[in-house]
Each structure stands twice: as C-alpha cells, then as structure tokens.
C-alpha cells in the first residue's frame, strides 16, 4: 500500500499535489511506525481513510438534472439525492457572490464544518423548479438591500448615519468612519457594511443623481 496514497489522483489534476517528488523511498519499509503500542492494523485503516478524504477534496462533481434530485423538506430546507448518496439537508452557497451570483453554486452538507457535495455550474442549466428551490435557499443565506436613493448621510463623532431607500424599502443605518466600512468592488460598485455587518450595495454609483453622489463624496 505504500506509495499509492501519495501518487493518486484518478481524475489526474496533472501531477500536482502530494505525488510530486515521485518514487523515492516508496518501496522502503513502513515508516517510523512503532511509536507507542498498538499501531498495526489501525494504521492501514487511518491511511486509507486519509487517502479517501484527499481524493474527495480534489474531486469536482457537477450536479445537473440527470444526476441530482433536490426536494423540499417541508421544514424550510432542501434535501438532495445524488446516485446512492442521500443528504437530508444541504446548504446552498455562491462561489462568486459578486462576480457572478448565478454561476457556480456550491451544494454543501449542513454540518458546521461543511463539505462540498457538488457544484451547479449555471442556474440556467437546471430545470426551472430546481432553480427556484435553490433560489429559495440562497434567499435564506444572502441579504443585501440595494440602495436606490440616498436621502441623507450625516457624519459625526466617528460614525456616518445613512438614510436611504433600498429595493427592500427605506432604511436607516450606521457605519463606522475610517476603517473598511465602504468596500469598492469596482470603480462604480460599492458595498457598505454597517456596524453589525449588515450589508448594503450600490451597484453603479453613476446611476445616482449628482446630488446623491456628492453625499457619497466622503467615501469615494
């Protein structure tokens, strides 16, 4: 068994990874081993387990209507069946929430140290119903009102108080001056983080009126 574990990579991401330096010492006697009693058979088990995990980590599995079946659990979540595997609840996460929010959706297990089950490459590639179900789950995870109108920004004693109208209605919120409360995603797109890390977005500052942009001057 020595050696197989390190040189693997069935889908072959091209020789990289732990296999690198190649064969030296592969045939050699089994490692330092004998520290502590009761190594033996346990060892083999552990090593093959590790191999399996590494393999899983390197694998990219794309999910589509053919190989994956999503279903509503009736308790607000989604379950997933992929081939033999069944997951009573999965979590849906965007890989590129800013660059492209409808592509590369990662489907993950629900435990705290979650693991990727597979990837939905494009929302448009799955059936309407599946896309709707995934969309519902994304709603549970992402909440960023889009600022449509800036009514007032007042800065005072280290805070800036914003008074805006968003696509979710009127909002008042407070950010800390200085620091990184206002993030420039591009030249025209900004993300604003309030003191509790609630998020607000301005997708294109050029779509604001000149008067509104002037209020933003403090942060541009």
């Amino acid at each position: 068994m020595s050696g197989t574990g390190v040189g693997h990579g069935p889908e072959g991401p091209g020789g990289h990874g732990p296999g690198g330096p190649g064969g030296r010492g592969q045939g050699g006697p089994k490692g330092p081993g004998g520290r502590g009693p009761g190594a033996g058979e346990f060892e083999d088990f552990q090593l093959s387990q590790m191999e399996k995990e590494t393999e899983e980590m390197l694998r990219v599995r794309y999910l589509n209507d053919e190989n994956a079946v999503f279903e509503r659990t009736g308790t607000g979540f989604l379950s997933l069946r992929v081939g033999e595997e069944f997951y009573p609840r999965v979590v849906v996460v965007r890989m590129f929430p800013f660059s492209d929010k409808d592509e590369f959706i990662s489907i993950r297990t629900a435990e705290e140290r979650s693991r990727e089950i597979g990837i939905v490459e494009k929302m448009s590639q799955v059936s309407g119903e599946t896309a709707r179900m995934l969309e519902e789950q994304l709603t549970l995870r992402y909440f960023t009102p889009v600022i449509e109108k800036i009514i007032k920004i007042k800065d005072e004693y280290g805070f800036a108080y914003w008074n805006v109208v968003t696509d979710h209605g009127a909002c008042n919120f407070t950010i800390r001056m200085g620091g990184n409360s206002v993030i420039h995603l591009s030249d025209v797109r900004i993300l604003i983080m309030d003191i509790d890390e609630n998020r607000f977005e301005i997708p294109d500052i050029n779509r604001l009126t000149p008067a509104e942009r002037k209020k933003l001057d403090l942060f541009l």
Partner: protein
C-alpha cells in the same frame, strides 16, 4: 415598525398570545425578528415561556422604515426630509402566523450565520426546521435566547440579564465604544479641559508671562492702525498744530513729528516681533513639558494595567491613538487655547473703537461679519471632504506601490509588469483627479469668500469716501478712513479663529478624555493589600474547581481540578482553542479566576505578592519578544544583576552560544526592532536563555518550539532538558513528541480536563490522546514518504 420598550413586545402581541393560550406573566424572554422567509423586511416576535417557544410572523409592510443599530435614536433628525412616513397603523393580527414548539420536544436551537442575515434553526424529531430569519441587528438578542434555552435544557435556569445600554441617555447618540460609555457630544468638556490645564501648573510663571506678552501684542495690534492712519494722515500730514503742542513739540516742527512717528511705528513692529518670538519659545517649552508629563502618566499606567485591558483593545491602535491624541491636545493648547482670550478681546475692542470712530461704517462692518463667518463655516468642510478624498487616493496608491515592491518577484515571474503599470496608472489618475478637485474647490472658496470680503471692504471704502467728500461726518478724514479699514482687516484673524475653534475644541477634548480614561483605568488584577511572601518556594501547584472566561457567561475553563507536584513535568494537550494557554495564563495570574482557586505551595495566588509570583513563575511562549538592546541585555532581562559569566552560561544551556558568537559583535550585538534580524529559532533560544537566567521555580512552556523546524526543535529540546531540572514545569505542545519526557499528561477539551495520566495510561484509554497520537504519527509517516 412597532417600537419595543424595555424588551417588551407591543401590546397586540400579548393580546395575540392570550388568544393562543399564553399568559403574559409566563413569558420569560422575548425577542424580535425582522425578515420573513422571502427575504423581505417584516416584523416577527419570539416568545419564550418555560414550556414553549413561540414564533410569530407578521406580514411585510410596504411603507416600513427599517432602522439598524445606531440610527434609531437619531431618526428624528435624520428623517426630517424623508418622504416616508412611519407606519403608525395597528398591525392586523388576522394576518399573523404563529408556530409553537414545546421546549421538551426541541432537541437543539441554534443560529446559522449567513451573509447579511441569519437563520434560527431548531431540531426536533430528528429533522432540522427553519424557524425564522433576521438581520444582524437582532442577532445579539437571539443569541441570548438560544443560550437561555440551552441552559434550560441542561436543567438550569436561563439568565437573561439586560445588556449595558449603548446609547447616551441624554442625546440618544450611540457610544463610539460600547465598553467606554462616553458620549462625545455630552461629555463634560469643561471638566476635561481643566484637568488638562492642571498639567500646566508647574509652568505657571511661564504661563503668566506668556499671557502678558499676548495681551501686550493684542494692545499693540490695536494701536497700529491708529498710528498708521489717524496720526499719520490726520495729524502729521495734515499739519495739525494742536497735535504738536499736545505732544510738547514746537509749532511747525512737523518733520520731527514725522520722525518720531516713524520711530514709534518701527518700535511697535519690533516689540511685536520680539514678543512673538518670546511667545513661541515659552509655549514650546511649556507644551513639550506638558506632553511629556501626560505621556509619562499614560505609560506608567499602561505598565500597571492587566493583560485584559490590552486584550480588549488592539495594542497597535492603542499606541498610535495615545500618541496622536497627545499631539492633538498639544496642538490645541499651543495654537488655539492661548489665543482665545486675545482674539476675543481684540474683536470686542476693535468693534468698540470702530463704533467710536464712525457708527455707520462700523455697522456695515459688523453686519458683514456674521455673513463672512457663516460662509467660512459653510464652505470649509467641503474642502476638508476633498482633502479626505486625496488622503484615501494617496493611501491606496501607497499600498499599491508597497504591494508591487514586496511582491516584485511574483510580478516578474508571471511577467505581469505591464498590467501592474496599468494598475498604477489608474491609481495615480485617481490621485490626480483628487488633487485637481482640491485646487478647484480651493480656488472656488477663494473666489466666493474673498469676493465677499472684498465687497465688504469696498462698501466701507465707498461709504468712507462719501463721508469725506460730503463732509457731513466732520471727523471723517482720510486718516480716519485708513485706520478704520485697518481695523476691519484686523477682524479677519479672530473671525477665522472662531470659525474653526468649535471643531478643534471638541476634537481635542475628546482626545483628552480618551487619555484620561487610560490614566483612570483600574487594573483588574490587583495585588493583595497585605501580600504574602514566597521566598523559598517548592513549586507545588493546585487548581481547585477553576472556572474562567474572557467574557461573562462564556467559560473557557470549566471546573478544572489539577494537582502538579513540586518538581514534576506536566504536559498539556488539546485541540487549539481548548483552553490550554488560558490555563497557564491563570497560573501566572495574568487574569483572575472567576470561580475556584489556584494555590502555589498551598498559598492562594491572589494573596501572593506580585513580585514573588512573577519571580518564581516564568513563561517561554511561542511569541518571543526581543527588546531593543544587545543580546546580553535581552538575556539578562529578568535578572539585571547577572554577571557576564552567568549570561554566557545561560546562553550555552539554551543552545544559543554558538549562533551568538557567529554574530559580529558577539553578546554585544544589537538586536530588536532596530538591530539585527534573528530567525525564529534564534529568538526562541534567546528567550529560553532569558528564562534560565531568571531561574524560576515554576516554568511554563507554551508551545515553545512550535514555530521552529525539527532540527532546531531538537536543539531547543535539549536545552529545555537542562532547564526543567529541579523545577515544576508545565509544557503545552502541539507536537506530542515534544512531551516525551513529561511525567504525566493532561488532556483538555472544551475547557475541561478530560483525561490525565502517564503516556501509557492515556494510550490504553483510547480516548482523545490516543486519537491525536495516531493522527500525528500518520502525518509524520506521510511527510516522511513525501519528503523521502
């Protein structure tokens, strides 16, 4: 949005609950939620009784204004020009939905963090249920709910103590720092001012002289336009005979009078100049002294404060803040405070004199004054905004340059020079634009403000000329007019001063307040009133039911019992975050335990003198610190009296001698932040030498070899073997191989001692230790194979 008072829900919710059979007096805790499952803002309420958790959801209201933290109390001011009206109508209970979960049935309740929102998830009958959704605004109160339910499930009573208020009760502003609870708007600035003023006490003679020179300066400034205008034109040039006899000269000796006047004018200017220099020297001397005293006080205090003080604030930020605060206070006391009186006096005196000279013209000047003042106040902040923008552009360009310099190898190896140049061009273009915007604004300011000012002075000239020509005002002569215009010009200085003083005052008092807070802070770990000595310790350590957490209600260590006999070596093992470092921090009393007791040789450490405790407990940790100074000074840090031979011996024992001798100046090589760079292993060995020389009875090794390579570790390990002899040693290590020589091992998991015993015993137990050991052996093998 319906307001909630004192953590109580709106009346209608209770009415609604009553219909569902829940009485108000049974409610233990309530919380609000603000999103519905469709991701729209909507009111929701959580109600907890001892039997049931109720989740109530109201439909989304269209005209709802959502107020996040910090903004709700300023709302009155903020929404004055909002078109949206507050939703005042009664919520319609018909549309409410409700879900009730019995606590007994509920297996677990937790919060899942999303991006900008969170989910409350409950698990029962082996299924996870999405209960409700909320923004980060509500997270704190919901976290309290889940904690409380956890406590209830464990059979305890939930504790829902109210949180400290985060808003100023006077004006409703949010405190910039929750822990400080100081409102920058309402704090007693006068008090702070006088307290800073007390630092000037040692310099009172200086101060009195300075005030006197300032007063003289002001007086001379007042006289100058008079000499320059009235006397020169109206008396001397106009050949006024009365004036000559008035100053005791013969008639017709106007040349003499002119000469005297010129001399007087020169003398006035000279005195002004001299006094200006004197003032500068006096203030500089005084202020430097005051700042030094302030910094000394701060530094002394910082030495006394407990580690927890630094933990709650970022040390780097703290330092720059203290320094910049001190500078800001100085700035205020040098450039502003001394001139307050002068400017005020000058202003009043000038206006009085002006009215005495010609009330009509004075009236114009005085009317113009507030207009100019207002313009100044209104326009200047706009320029500041531009300066802020330039600052940000500069900063982003600097970090780009820094990025490129430090990453130059990567840039080159991927051949991305062109792209980097483009990036730089973009950044430099933004800076250019910011610069242009500033000069544009400044010119504009000059145009508007300067124009207004010129207009005012032109109006005065015109009126003056009119008075002279019409001869109506008998006293109005050319000289008077020139004097008058001189006075108008003299109002400029005070006006600018008063336009900027309010901001400077608020800023500097804020700075002073922050500094005084540090000076006034009380150390959390205090030495006992009558400390007990520990001169010849054995090194026996006992932990008795120790419970501790950095935050209340979040224990890091729970009921830890441990006995470490004198002279033994104990290894502490556990996952990261299990509480290992916390445990040793408690033994050296960086923090005080919340419950239980720690004893050394049977004496509670709370009763020990700091000196004895710290002398007998030394720590070598992963973060080594090298102070500015020589190698020898660094080794002798804890034992200043050590002679050269002892220092050398300690270095030898620590395996540091050889590399020290390879450095050009041997033990006298300067190291630390300004000196020679040391590698991780070298630093580590110097700190071990430091600990050897300190010769403590109890030695704590906190991951002392974690950051060095295997070979260096072996050397250090060897060095440590010398060090541990005859001492009680507590060693924390990630690599279990480091703990080979431990007499016994303690496994800490989630703040509890889960296993303890010798290596063999623990291995036989097949618990956490066994697992860790196995994993590490495997990892080592794997590494061997890869590397091999």
């Amino acid at each position: 949005m319906v307001k909630m008072e004192n953590n109580k829900l709106p009346r209608q919710v209770y009415t609604f609950l009553k219909e569902k059979g829940i009485r108000e007096q049974d409610v233990l805790y309530t919380a609000q939620t603000d999103l519905n499952a469709e991701g729209e803002f909507a009111d929701g309420y959580l109600v907890l009784t001892k039997d049931v958790l109720g989740i109530i959801q109201a439909p989304a209201a269209e005209d709802r204004v959502h107020s996040f933290r910090g903004s709700s109390l300023l709302k009155a001011e903020l929404t004055e020009d909002t078109v949206y009206e507050e939703d005042a109508q009664e919520p319609d209970r018909e549309e409410w939905s409700a879900q009730f979960v019995e606590i007994d049935r509920l297996e677990r309740l937790w919060i899942e963090n999303g991006v900008g929102c969170n989910l409350l998830v409950g698990k029962w009958e082996d299924r996870e249920h999405c209960l409700t959704m909320f923004t980060h605004l509500q997270k704190r109160s919901l976290a309290k709910l889940t904690r409380g339910i956890e406590q209830m499930k464990r059979g305890g009573s939930p504790d829902f103590d109210a949180e400290a208020d985060e808003y100023c009760p006077k004006c409703g502003r949010m405190y910039p720092d929750r822990a400080r609870r100081v409102c920058p708007n309402c704090m007693d600035k006068h008090n702070v001012f006088f307290r800073v003023f007390r630092y000037f006490k040692p310099y009172r003679v200086n101060f009195v002289i300075m005030m006197a020179t300032i007063a003289v300066t002001a007086l001379l400034n007042l006289i100058w336009p008079y000499l320059n205008g009235n006397i020169l034109y109206n008396k001397v040039l106009a050949k006024d005979p009365e004036f000559l006899s008035g100053i005791g000269l013969k008639p017709d000796s106007f040349v003499t009078a002119l000469l005297m006047l010129v001399l007087a004018m020169v003398a006035t200017k000279l005195v002004l100049l001299l006094f200006g220099i004197l003032q500068g020297v006096l203030t500089a001397r005084m202020v430097i002294g005051v700042v030094r005293d302030l910094k000394k006080d701060i530094f002394r205090k910082m030495g006394q404060l407990s580690i927890s003080f630094y933990r709650s604030r970022q040390t780097g930020g703290l330092m720059t803040r203290v320094l910049s605060d001190a500078n800001r206070i100085t700035g205020f006391f040098v450039d502003d405070a001394p001139f307050f009186l002068v400017h005020a006096l000058t202003m009043v005196a000038t206006i009085v004199v002006m009215f005495a000279m010609n009330p009509w013209m004075a009236l114009i000047a005085v009317v113009m004054l507030p207009i100019l003042f207002g313009l100044n106040r209104y326009l200047r902040p706009r320029i500041w905004v531009m300066f802020g923008r330039r600052h940000r552009a500069e900063r982003s360009m600097n970090s780009l340059i820094n990025d490129n310099l430090t990453g130059s190898r990567v840039v080159k190896s991927f051949g991305q020079e062109k792209k980097e140049i483009q990036r730089f061009e973009g950044s430099s273009r933004r800076l250019k634009e910011a610069e242009i915007a500033i000069s544009y604004r400044q010119n504009w300011f000059q145009l508007v403000y300067g124009g207004a000012r010129e207009l005012a002075s032109m109006a005065i000239w015109a009126l003056g000329v009119y008075f002279i020509m019409s001869g109506s005002g008998e006293e109005m002569q050319l000289g008077t007019l020139i004097t008058f215009v001189g006075y108008v010009g003299q109002l400029q200085g005070p006006m600018n001063f008063f336009a900027r003083i309010p901001n400077r005052w608020a800023d500097s008092m804020n700075s002073a307040q922050r500094i005084f807070e540090i000076i006034d802070a009380v150390p959390e770990v205090l030495e006992a009133q009558k400390p007990r000595r520990l001169e010849q310790p054995e090194g026996d350590i006992e932990l008795d039911n120790v419970t501790f957490g950095y935050e209340v209600n979040r224990p890091v260590l729970k009921d830890v019992n441990l006995h470490i006999p004198a002279g033994s070596m104990v290894g502490i093992v556990g996952r990261s975050g299990a509480g290992k470092t916390t445990l040793v921090n408690l033994i050296s009393r960086m923090y005080d335990v919340q419950e239980g007791e720690i004893r050394i040789d049977g004496i509670p450490i709370r009763e020990l003198s700091f000196n004895d405790l710290r002398r007998n407990v030394a720590m070598v940790s992963q973060e080594t610190y090298i102070f500015m100074g020589t190698v020898a000074e660094n080794i002798a840090y804890a034992n200043q009296g050590a002679d050269l031979k002892e220092i050398m011996r300690a270095a030898k024992l620590a395996g540091a001698h050889e590399f020290i001798m390879r450095m050009p100046d041997g033990y006298d090589t300067r190291i630390g932040s300004s000196g020679r760079e040391l590698s991780g292993g070298e630093r580590q060995r110097i700190s071990i030498a430091r600990a050897i020389l300190a010769n403590p009875k109890i030695l704590i090794l906190d991951e002392a070899t974690a950051s060095v390579d295997t070979e260096t570790e072996r050397v250090i390990q060897k060095a440590l073997n010398y060090l541990v002899q005859g001492r009680t040693t507590i060693s924390i290590a990630h690599r279990l191989s480091t703990l080979r020589d431990a007499d016994y091992l303690v496994v800490i998991d989630h703040g509890k001692v889960t296993e303890q015993g010798t290596h063999q015993e623990l291995f036989a137990l097949k618990g956490t230790y066994y697992k860790l050991q196995e994993l590490q052996t495997k990892a080592l093998q794997l590494k061997g194979e890869i590397g091999g």
